[in-house]
C-alpha cells in the first residue's frame, strides 16, 4: 500500500508538473470564464432587417463550461441571443418553447438553471439586452417590423410582462416603419442599434444610437454606405462591428470607421472582449464552412479556434462574468405629445454647400400606414436657424426650400423625436464630429415660440411614401 501510495503521489506530482512545463492552457480556460454561444445550422444575419428569420432552421444556446459544450437550457425548441446580467448571475435570452411559438424573452438564473418568462406577447420578441436601472431593451415584432422596446426587467417586482406592446411600463424606443434591433448598451448608457440606412427607408445595415428613453436618435457616424452591423463596445471605448464580412471600429477621435486588420476570414455579428483584452469572434475561413468561435488578440496574425461544431454556425459569444454597469440615462422628457426642434444652422452639412439660400423648412411625417403627410413649413432665418414644433413619436423628415419652394436639400430617410424632447441640431446632417458655434440663433432672438408643425396641412394630403427621399 505504501508503494502504491508513493507511486500515486509521484504520478500526481508529474501530472501536476507536466502542464506547468510547456503545455499551453486550453484557450477556453485561458478566458477564465464560461461562455455562451448560439449554435444554428443556418445563419442569415441580416434577414430580420428585411422581415425574414436569422435562424430559419432553429438555434440553440450552448454553455461552454470546463471545456465542454452543453445546452444552456432544456425544454425549448429554439434559444438564442444571450445577454449576461451585470453581476454575471442571470442570462436574458430569446426562446421558443415549441416550433410554432413566437420568440419570447426569458431569463435564466445560472446558479440553479431556473428559467422564467419575462414577457409574453403574440409576436416575436428577440435580442434582449439588460439596461442599467433594472430595465431591459429588446426588439419586438410589430406590423411595421421590429421596434426597440424597453421595460423594467422584472428583477425587482418579479412579475411577468404581459402584452408588452400595450402593457404598462413598456416604452417603445424606435418610431419607424422599418425594423431596428438592439446590439449593445454603451458605457455612456446609450443603446447601439442596427437598422437600415437611410434610417426608416433604406436597406444597407447601419449602426445608430438612442438614449434609453428613445430620445436623441442619431447615426453613430455619418460616413454611410458600408454595411455595418453587430457592434459591441470594448474596454477602450471603441465600438467594434462587422462591416460586410470584416471587422471595423469606431473610435472616439475619428469621424469615420477604421478598418481592423485581422487574420483571413469572414466575421459575423458582435465580438466579445475577454478580461485579458482578447476578442472572441464568430468567424469562418470560407463562405461554405460554418462559423466558429475564435479567440484573437488584436494586432496579432493568428486566431485560435476555441469552439467549433460541424454543420453548425457558432455565433454571438458571450462571457459569463461580472461586468461594468453602463451609466443610467436620466430622462429629461417633458410630459408633451409634441417635440421642439431647433436647428442652429441648417445650411451646414457634410453633403456640401447648398445651391441656394434656404428660406423655409418643410416637415413631413408618416401616418399610421407609412404614408408621407405634409405638416407645413416654417421660416429659415438668415443665419440658417429655425425653430419648429413637431409631432412626437412619429417618423418625420425635413426639407430645405428656396424662396420659390424648390427643394434645396431633402433629408435622407426619417427620424423621430420623442414626445417631450427638445432637440438641437447643429446643421442638417453635419455628423457627430461637428459641435455648435456659441451664438444665439437668430430665430430665438426673434421668437421663443416654435412654429407649430404638429398637424397635417390639409386632410387627404397623404401620398405614398417614397423610398430614400433624396
Amino acid at each position: 500500500m505504501k508503494d502504491r501510495a508513493r507511486v500515486g503521489w509521484v504520478a500526481a506530482c508529474i501530472a501536476l508538473l507536466v502542464p506547468m512545463c510547456g503545455f499551453a492552457p486550453d484557450p477556453v480556460e485561458k478566458i477564465g470564464a464560461d461562455l455562451i454561444v448560439t449554435a444554428a445550422p443556418v445563419y442569415e444575419p441580416l434577414a430580420e432587417l428585411r422581415g425574414g428569420e436569422r435562424f430559419p432552421k432553429g438555434a440553440q444556446l450552448l454553455l461552454i463550461h470546463d471545456g465542454k459544450a452543453e445546452p444552456l437550457v432544456t425544454g425549448f425548441a429554439a434559444t438564442a441571443d444571450a445577454d449576461v446580467y451585470f453581476n454575471g448571475k442571470q442570462v436574458l435570452f430569446a426562446g421558443k418553447k415549441t416550433e410554432n411559438d413566437p420568440w419570447q424573452i426569458w431569463e435564466l438564473t445560472l446558479k440553479d438553471h431556473s428559467v422564467r418568462k419575462v414577457i409574453t406577447t403574440a409576436t416575436d420578441a428577440v435580442r434582449p439586452l439588460y439596461l442599467p436601472g433594472a430595465r431591459m431593451v429588446w426588439a419586438q415584432r410589430t406590423a411595421h417590423g421590429f421596434e426597440l422596446q424597453s421595460a423594467d426587467d422584472g428583477h425587482l417586482l418579479n412579475y411577468i410582462m404581459l402584452n408588452p406592446t400595450g402593457g404598462p411600463g413598456i416604452t417603445p424606443l424606435t418610431y419607424l416603419h422599418t425594423s431596428a434591433f438592439p446590439v449593445n448598451v454603451l458605457e455612456d448608457g446609450r443603446i447601439l442599434f442596427e437598422s437600415g440606412y437611410p434610417l426608416g427607408s433604406g436597406t444597407t445595415p447601419e449602426l445608430y444610437l438612442v438614449y434609453a428613453d428613445g430620445s436623441g436618435v442619431e447615426s453613430y457616424r455619418c460616413d454611410h454606405g458600408q454595411a455595418r452591423w453587430g457592434g459591441a463596445q470594448v474596454a477602450s471605448g471603441d465600438v467594434v462591428f462587422t462591416q460586410g464580412h470584416s471587422l471595423a471600429r469606431f473610435t472616439s477621435p475619428l469621424a469615420h470607421e477604421e478598418k481592423i486588420t485581422t487574420p483571413r476570414g469572414e466575421f459575423a455579428g458582435a465580438i466579445t472582449e475577454t478580461s485579458d483584452g482578447e476578442w472572441l469572434v464568430s468567424a469562418r475561413t470560407a463562405a461554405t464552412s460554418p462559423y466558429e468561435i475564435r479567440l484573437w488578440k488584436p494586432g496579432t496574425a493568428t486566431m485560435q479556434t476555441i469552439v467549433s461544431e460541424p454543420g453548425k454556425n457558432l455565433l454571438e459569444p458571450v462571457v459569463v462574468a461580472r461586468r461594468t454597469v453602463p451609466r443610467r440615462h436620466p430622462s429629461g422628457l417633458h410630459p408633451w405629445d409634441y417635440a421642439n426642434v431647433l436647428a442652429l444652422d441648417a445650411r451646414l452639412s457634410r453633403d456640401g454647400a447648398l445651391k441656394g439660400t434656404p428660406e423655409r423648412v418643410r416637415l413631413e411625417a408618416q401616418d399610421a400606414k407609412g404614408h408621407a403627410v405634409a405638416m407645413g413649413t416654417a421660416p429659415v432665418e438668415k443665419d440658417g436657424s429655425f425653430f419648429v414644433q413637431v409631432p412626437g413619436d412619429r417618423p418625420i423628415r425635413f426639407a430645405l426650400l428656396d424662396a420659390k419652394g424648390v427643394v434645396l436639400r431633402q433629408q435622407k430617410g426619417w427620424l423621430w423625436i420623442r414626445g417631450g424632447e427638445q432637440r438641437i441640431c447643429v446643421g442638417c446632417h453635419t455628423g457627430p464630429e461637428r459641435s455648435s458655434e456659441n451664438r444665439v440663433p437668430a430665430v430665438l432672438l426673434r421668437t421663443t415660440t416654435p412654429v407649430d408643425l404638429t398637424h397635417a396641412v390639409q386632410a387627404g394630403a397623404s401620398q405614398p411614401m417614397t423610398s430614400g427621399g433624396h
Binding site: 502542464p19 472616439s252 477621435p253 467549433s308 444665439v440
Partner: protein, 635 residues
C-alpha cells in the same frame, strides 16, 4: 448534437491539472483570509492637504519647489529622488510662484492675504512679505531684475513692483480676473491671461484676451483677442519664441443646453499664436467626439518644439500633442475648425491618465521628464516623455485619509460624472466661484429663462436655489436637477452627493477687499448704507416696506431667502418672481440681475428700474447712487 461538438482542448487534461495546481498553490499561500484592498478611511475631520498647484525647478535643477495651496506652503523636494526636504510656510491660499532671474529668490503670490512671500532659495526661508493688490495670482520678474509683475485677479490688472523693495510703481489693465503670467523665453514680453470673460453686450459671445506686456518698458503693447473664450489659464511659449499656446475654455452658453453630446456645453481648446502660426491666432480643439479634455489648465512645449503637453483638470489626464503636425494641420485647414471634434486626431499623440485635478506641468531641464501636479490627491505624476507613460507617482506627505470635504472637493472638480466626461461643477464655477456668463438652460424652453451664473462662496444658508427659487436645498440642486439637466447622465451615489454638498456649504467667502480693516465704513459707504436702509425717499414720502432695499436683502448675507417681482421680467421670462440673491462679494460677480442683463451694478437701477420696483432709486442723484453702490461693495 453534443457528440458532434468538438471543443478543442489542445491540452485539456493538462489544463485541468494546471488549474488544480493553481488552486492548491493558492490555498497554500492563503493563510489569513482574503486579501484586503488598502483603503483610505473617510473622515469628517477638517484635514489639511498639500494640494500641489504649481511646480518650479531651481536654476541648477537640484531642487523641485512645489506650491501647496491648501497647506499654505512651498515644499522643497530633491529633484532627483523627490524626497521632501523642507516645508516653507507662506501666506494663505498661494496660487502662483516663480524664480527670480538669478534664481536666488522665489516669489509666491498669496491670494487671500494679498501678499507676496519672498523666499531665499539658499536659506529656504521667507525673507520678506510684501503687500500687493487684490488676490495676487501670478508673479514674474523681468529679465533685468528691475520689476516684478503681479497679476491681480480681483482688480483685473497687473501691478508693477520694484523687484527689490516690493514697492508698487504702477498698474497695467489686463483682462477680467487676471491670473497667469508667462514670460517669453527672452523675457521681453509677458503674456497675461484671465479667468473671467471681459464684458460684452448681453447675449453675445464672451471674449477674452492675452494681454501682452513689454517687460522692459512695463507697458501693454498688445491685446490678443480670444473670441468666444471664457476661462483662460496658462500660456506656454516655445524656446524660440515663435509659438505660444493658451489653455482655455470655449463655452456654449448662448446655445440652449439641451444635451451634452457634440460639445454641447463646453469645448476645451488651445489658442495658438506667434510667428509659426501667422498673423492671426488659431483656435484648436483638444476634445474628441466622445471624450473631452475637460478644463485645460497647464501647458508646456518641449525645447525642440516637437511636443506639447496640456493638463485637463476635469478629465484627470494629460494630452500629448505633436507640434509639427499641429502646425501643419492649422496651416492646411481653413478657420474655424475648432468646431470639428475629429480635428484633434490629426495632432494628439496620446492621452495619459494622471491624478485628480492635474494643474501645473513642468519639464525637466533635459526634457526627458514631465512632472504634473495633481492638486486633489497630493501627488506628482512623473512622466517619461519618451514613452509618454507615468514612470512613477510621488506622494506628498500629509493626511492619508480622505475627509468628507476632500471627497466633496474632488467631486466638484471632476468631470467624470457628466455624459462622456464633458463638464464638472468647476467648469462654470471656476475655482469654486462663478464664470461671468449667462446660460440658456433647457427646461424653461429654448431661448427662455436666461440665467446668470451665481457665486457659490458663502452659499450655505441662502436656500432656496435657482433664480426662480425652485430648488429647496443643495441636495436637490446638485442631485436630481444636475443629473437631468446638466450631467445628462447617472449622478452621484448618495454618499458622494452628501460630500459634495458638504464641500459647497463649507466654501467661505473670500475676504471682501472693499471693507476697511476694522470694518468701519467710509463716509460714502455710510451714506450708501443710509440709502440702503431708508424708509422715506428724498421727497419725504414713505417707501413701502417691501420696496426698501433692506427688506428683501436682509440678514447677514443680504437675502431674505424669498422671491419677489422687482420689475426685471423680460419677454423671455415666464415669471417676474425671482429669488433674492445674496450680496456676498457682489462687487466681483458682474453681470447682474437674474439674466445677467445688467453689465454693472449701476445699470441695475439706471436701466432696469424705471418703475422703482427694485427699490426706490429714481429719486437718487448719480452721486447718491454711487454711494449706495459703494456700500453694497462692502457686503
Amino acid at each position: 448534437m453534443m457528440r458532434q461538438t468538438q471543443v478543442r482542448l489542445r491540452a485539456g487534461i493538462a489544463g485541468g491539472l494546471l488549474s488544480t495546481a493553481a488552486v492548491l498553490f493558492g490555498v497554500a499561500l492563503w493563510t489569513g483570509g482574503p486579501a484586503r484592498a488598502v483603503m483610505t478611511g473617510r473622515t469628517g475631520e477638517v484635514l489639511t492637504y498639500a494640494s500641489p498647484e504649481e511646480l518650479v525647478l531651481s536654476t541648477d535643477g537640484a531642487k523641485l519647489f512645489v506650491l501647496c495651496q491648501q497647506s499654505d506652503e512651498v515644499r522643497v523636494l530633491n529633484a532627483a529622488t523627490y524626497a521632501e526636504e523642507k516645508k516653507i510656510p507662506v501666506g494663505h491660499l498661494p496660487r502662483g510662484f516663480s524664480l527670480s532671474v538669478d534664481g536666488a529668490r522665489l516669489f509666491v503670490t498669496n491670494t487671500w492675504d494679498d501678499t507676496i512671500s519672498v523666499i531665499d532659495t539658499k536659506a529656504l526661508s521667507v525673507v520678506a512679505t510684501w503687500p500687493v493688490g487684490a488676490e495676487p495670482s501670478s508673479v514674474v520678474e523681468d529679465r533685468a531684475g528691475k520689476h516684478l509683475f503681479v497679476a491681480n485677479r480681483i482688480s483685473s490688472d497687473v501691478a508693477v513692483l520694484n523687484a527689490q523693495t516690493g514697492q508698487e510703481e504702477k498698474r497695467l489693465s489686463a483682462g477680467r480676473g487676471a491670473s497667469y503670467i508667462t514670460p517669453s523665453p527672452d523675457g521681453s514680453r509677458l503674456y497675461v491671461t484671465h479667468v473671467y470673460p471681459n464684458p460684452t453686450a448681453f447675449r453675445t459671445a464672451p471674449e477674452s484676451e492675452v494681454t501682452v506686456i513689454d517687460a522692459a518698458r512695463a507697458v501693454v503693447v498688445d491685446r490678443i483677442a480670444l473670441r468666444s473664450i471664457a476661462g483662460v489659464f496658462h500660456v506656454a511659449v516655445s524656446a524660440d519664441g515663435r509659438l505660444a499656446a493658451v489653455a482655455e475654455l470655449h463655452p456654449k452658453n448662448l446655445v440652449p443646453l439641451a444635451h451634452l453630446e457634440h460639445g454641447g456645453a463646453f469645448e476645451d481648446t488651445l489658442t495658438l499664436f506667434g510667428a509659426d502660426v501667422g498673423p492671426k491666432p488659431v483656435e484648436v480643439p483638444l476634445d474628441e467626439l466622445e471624450r473631452y479634455a475637460a478644463r485645460p489648465f497647464g501647458v508646456t512645449i518641449t525645447p525642440d518644439k516637437s511636443r506639447m503637453y496640456v493638463t485637463s483638470g476635469g478629465s484627470q489626464m494629460l494630452t500629448v500633442i505633436d507640434v509639427p503636425r499641429l502646425l501643419r494641420y492649422a496651416h492646411l485647414h481653413p478657420q474655424p475648425f475648432v468646431y470639428d471634434l475629429s480635428a484633434s486626431a490629426n495632432y494628439v499623440i496620446t492621452r495619459v491618465a494622471v491624478g485628480r485635478d492635474p494643474r501645473g506641468v513642468l519639464l525637466s531641464h533635459d526634457g526627458r521628464t514631465l512632472l504634473v501636479a495633481n492638486r486633489l490627491d497630493d501627488t506628482i505624476s512623473v512622466i517619461d516623455t519618451r514613452s509618454n507613460k507615468v514612470a512613477s507617482t510621488v506622494t506628498l506627505s500629509g493626511p492619508k485619509q480622505i475627509s468628507v470635504l476632500r471627497h466633496g472637493e474632488q467631486t466638484f472638480y471632476s468631470a467624470a460624472q457628466s455624459f462622456q466626461g464633458q463638464i464638472g461643477c468647476a467648469n462654470c464655477h471656476i475655482d469654486s466661484t462663478f464664470d461671468g456668463l449667462n446660460w440658456d438652460l433647457e427646461p424653461d424652453g429654448f431661448g427662455r429663462g436666461i440665467v446668470d451664473n451665481r457665486l457659490l462662496e458663502d452659499v450655505k444658508g441662502t436656500d432656496p436655489y435657482k433664480w426662480n427659487g425652485g430648488n429647496p436645498n443643495l441636495p436637490t440642486e446638485c442631485g436630481p436637477r444636475t443629473e437631468r439637466y446638466f450631467w445628462r447622465a447617472e449622478n452621484y451615489d448618495d454618499l458622494t452627493l452628501a460630500d459634495l454638498v458638504t464641500y459647497i456649504r463649507s466654501m467661505p467667502p473670500r475676504p471682501n477687499r472693499w471693507k476697511l480693516p476694522g470694518y468701519e465704513l467710509t463716509a460714502a459707504e455710510e451714506r450708501g448704507k443710509e440709502i440702503f436702509e431708508r424708509k422715506v425717499d428724498k421727497f419725504g414720502n414713505p417707501i413701502p416696506e417691501k420696496n426698501r432695499c433692506v427688506y428683501c436683502h436682509s440678514g447677514l448675507k443680504g437675502t431674505s431667502q424669498k422671491s419677489f417681482d422687482v420689475g426685471t421680467k423680460k419677454p423671455t421670462d415666464d415669471s417676474g418672481l425671482l429669488d433674492t440673491p445674496q450680496l456676498t462679494n457682489i462687487a466681483l460677480t458682474a453681470p447682474y440681475l437674474h439674466d445677467g442683463s445688467a453689465a454693472t451694478l449701476e445699470e441695475i437701477w439706471t436701466i432696469y428700474n424705471s418703475e422703482d420696483k427694485h427699490g426706490r432709486t429714481n429719486d437718487l442723484t448719480k452721486d447718491e447712487l454711487n454711494d449706495l453702490i459703494e456700500y453694497l461693495r462692502t457686503r
